[in-house]
């Protein structure tokens, strides 16, 4: 998923005659003092990373003069916060005092209509009453008359940007209105992963090496199968065919006091089995204490083929000492599930169940076996 960082969106808004503060963008190899010195008065120094709550994370700092701005910029540049490395900072002049507003354009998901959000702005907006929603038609955005007059041109530009970017959401917060009119102090755009990203977009989220490897493998295989994988902080490895059962599985783990070591979703296309084997290899590398292998009831894959792929991918377990082998529960549901269970029997500490064991009951079984293993080393 991609997003536009503050300065990229502000640059776009500027071309629509929206006022933004005078500013300088400083990179790690730039002359920090020289660039900060272009803005002689007090400034705000902001790390350009796609994170919320930058102020709370120390990534937005007020500087009294260029010297302080340079010091703040140097402190941020090269640091890593929540997995994001700060490669650039934005230094911008302080705006005159005024009334702050929140403006955003997005979709009311429950009703499937575009809306303009409008309310008091500034930090802590989430703690206030929900902003007012003004539905508008994509073909003919209206409703701007409901806004204070100085905000209308900003809102018009906001909606134009939202439509041009085909974004999920464009947010301006705050827009400060003073005697000289409206000025946008912060701006973000969340982009639709199904729309090509525009110039200047940055990837949101911390890249996961296993995810990258699996996606590359998926791209190299015919069949159009998609895969997602991410490392989590728990001890239960998850190998899942189809995304439909994921929420049920994660909730059931939570109810049993377990946490997943990863999430994974392999879906669609005809290379499912091969990719599930690759996912199993990544899960194995996490050295989980338990592994849940799960399919929903489906006829789109052969569960015997799935079982064979699991046995092949998890074969290295046989070389581990017994107390380092995870307990495994495989819930494989399909007309050939009895054959799949027989195949899975080749894996140590593996219990296979079929469609008559609901997904969350399979999780309960795994939890019982993990608890038993922790107790006396015997997962039976």
């Amino acid at each position: 998923m991609h997003a536009l960082t503050e300065e990229a969106l502000k640059a776009r808004l500027s071309t629509r005659r929206v006022r933004v503060p005078e500013h300088a963008v400083i990179g790690a190899t730039d002359d920090v003092e020289a660039l900060a010195g272009r803005l002689p008065g007090p400034t705000m120094v902001k790390a350009l990373v796609p994170l919320t709550d930058r102020a709370r994370r120390g990534l937005v700092v007020r500087a009294a003069d260029p010297g302080e701005a340079a010091t703040a910029a140097r402190a941020m540049l090269g640091s890593t916060v929540a997995g994001h490395r700060v490669d650039r900072v934005l230094v911008e002049e302080l705006a005159p005092d005024g009334t702050e507003y929140y403006l955003a354009a997005g979709f009311d998901y429950a009703h499937g209509v575009p809306v303009l959000l409008f309310g008091p702005g500034g930090s802590g907006v989430e703690g206030r009453a929900a902003p007012r929603r003004i539905p508008f038609a994509m073909a003919d955005p209206g409703g701007l008359a409901a806004l204070p007059e100085p905000l209308r041109p900003v809102a018009r530009a906001l909606v134009e940007e939202f439509l041009d970017l085909r974004a999920k959401l464009v947010e301006l917060n705050p827009v400060r209105v003073g005697p000289a009119g409206a000025i946008v102090l912060d701006a973000k755009a969340a982009l639709d992963p199904d729309v090509p990203a525009p110039a200047g977009a940055v990837e949101v989220g911390v890249p996961d090496e296993a995810d990258r490897r699996l996606r590359e493998l998926a791209r190299s295989l015919p069949g159009g199968t998609e895969v997602r994988f991410g490392r989590l902080d728990g001890t239960v490895g998850l190998i899942s065919a189809g995304g439909g059962v994921l929420a049920i599985v994660h909730d059931a783990l939570r109810r049993h006091g377990l946490r997943p070591a990863n999430f994974s979703d392999v879906s669609g296309g005809s290379a499912t089995t091969e990719l599930l084997g690759a996912v199993a290899g990544e899960v194995l590398a996490l050295r989980p204490e338990g592994i849940l292998i799960v399919t929903g009831i489906t006829s789109s894959i052969s569960v015997t083929g799935f079982a064979e792929a699991m046995v092949a991918a998890l074969a290295p377990l046989r070389d581990r000492p017994d107390d380092e082998r995870p307990v495994i529960v495989a819930r494989m549901a399909g007309p050939d599930e009895a054959d799949a269970a027989r195949i899975m029997g080749a894996l140590p500490h593996c219990v296979a169940v079929g469609r008559d064991t609901a997904v969350d009951s399979a999780v309960a079984l795994l939890a019982d076996r993990i608890v038993a293993r922790r107790g006396d080393g015997n997962p039976a």
């Binding site: 994170l51 989430e126 902003p131 085909r166 439909g244 994660h250 789109s300």
Partner: protein, 300 residues
């Protein structure tokens, strides 16, 4: 009986010559679905499993009455193809396609509303009225569900199978199962469909599966509270695990403003419970809740 689809529904398959659509068409014809025509631009005159193929819905509609459309559309042609579909006025169009840009999705919904056509999906797997007809790839494993009087409505296409199997094994059977779509914005909501279930004499109850996210379940609660739905609803809402994770790293709170009043799974369960729905904690609770609601088992 059932909703949306029965043995008499005359179905057009748009995008019929694609691999997925072709395979589904063959299996759904074999199941008994009345697929009368298909559409694939530039393929007029071909046949898929004996079904005649036309260049456009307008052309197909000149030769066939079309009650409903199942659409397998590449995202890049979604809007123009949908306009062609809507112009022939089917009762509903079911959009299988995944990866439709949100703006195109919302614009398509607006066009469907304006045309008075129910749009189901996108990003969904199908509809099945067991023993009568099915579209998409829902219920290809025909052994897993039996005809009956409980409607299954699900956010997840894949998990619809598990629910339908459970309901069937518990002795109730399924009147119709509908996967409503997994995208943030979908056409027919749970509330739209339960009102069809209310009017259906072949449906005694609804089992629904929702997830944390856009507040579609609140509309169901409103419909129950307002008396627009009087049959038992058994609801399973997943997604508690999301409470353990930081929401989207860019738009946590603004996203929440847009999704609805309170989009956590627990909040949805509370709203449904307060309205009188039977709320399941786990999948295994569902048969017991159907019993508790007094839903009669199949007599078949």
């Amino acid at each position: 009986m059932g909703i949306l689809l029965d043995a008499e529904t005359r179905v057009c398959v748009v995008g019929i010559t694609g691999g997925r659509a072709r395979a589904d068409t063959e299996r759904n014809l074999a199941y008994g679905t009345r697929i009368v025509c298909g559409v694939a631009p530039g393929r007029r005159g071909q046949r898929v499993a004996g079904v005649p193929v036309y260049d456009s819905c307008a052309e197909a509609a000149a030769d066939h009455r079309i009650d409903a459309v199942i659409a397998y559309l590449p995202p890049r042609v979604y809007r123009s193809a949908l306009d062609d579909i809507l112009a022939v006025g089917p009762a509903w169009v079911h959009v299988v396609t995944e990866g439709i840009p949100l703006h195109d999705n919302v614009a398509g919904l607006a066009a469907a509303r304006a045309a008075g056509v129910r749009l189901i999906g996108p990003n969904t797997s199908g509809i099945i009225t067991p023993g009568q007809a099915k579209v998409g790839f829902l219920g290809h494993a025909t052994w897993l569900m039996s005809p009956g009087r409980v409607a299954v409505l699900s956010r997840s296409g894949g998990f619809t199978h598990d629910l339908a199997y459970l309901v069937s094994q518990a002795g109730y059977g399924v009147s119709t199962a509908v996967a409503i779509g997994g995208d943030a914005v979908v056409g027919q909501s749970f509330a739209d469909l339960i009102e069809l279930c209310e009017a259906d004499p072949g449906t005694d109850a609804v089992v629904m599966y929702g997830e944390a996210g856009p507040a579609l379940e609140h509309q169901v609660a409103d419909a129950i509270a307002a008396g627009r739905f009087g049959k038992p609803v058994v609801a399973l809402i997943a997604g508690d695990f999301l409470d353990d994770h930081e929401r989207g790293s860019v738009f946590g709170h603004a996203g929440a403003f847009l999704e609805g009043p309170d989009t956590r799974a627990a909040a949805k369960r509370d709203v449904l419970r307060a309205a009188g729905a039977y709320v399941a904690t786990s999948v295994d609770d569902i048969p017991g809740l159907l019993r508790a609601a007094g839903v009669p088992r199949n007599q078949q």
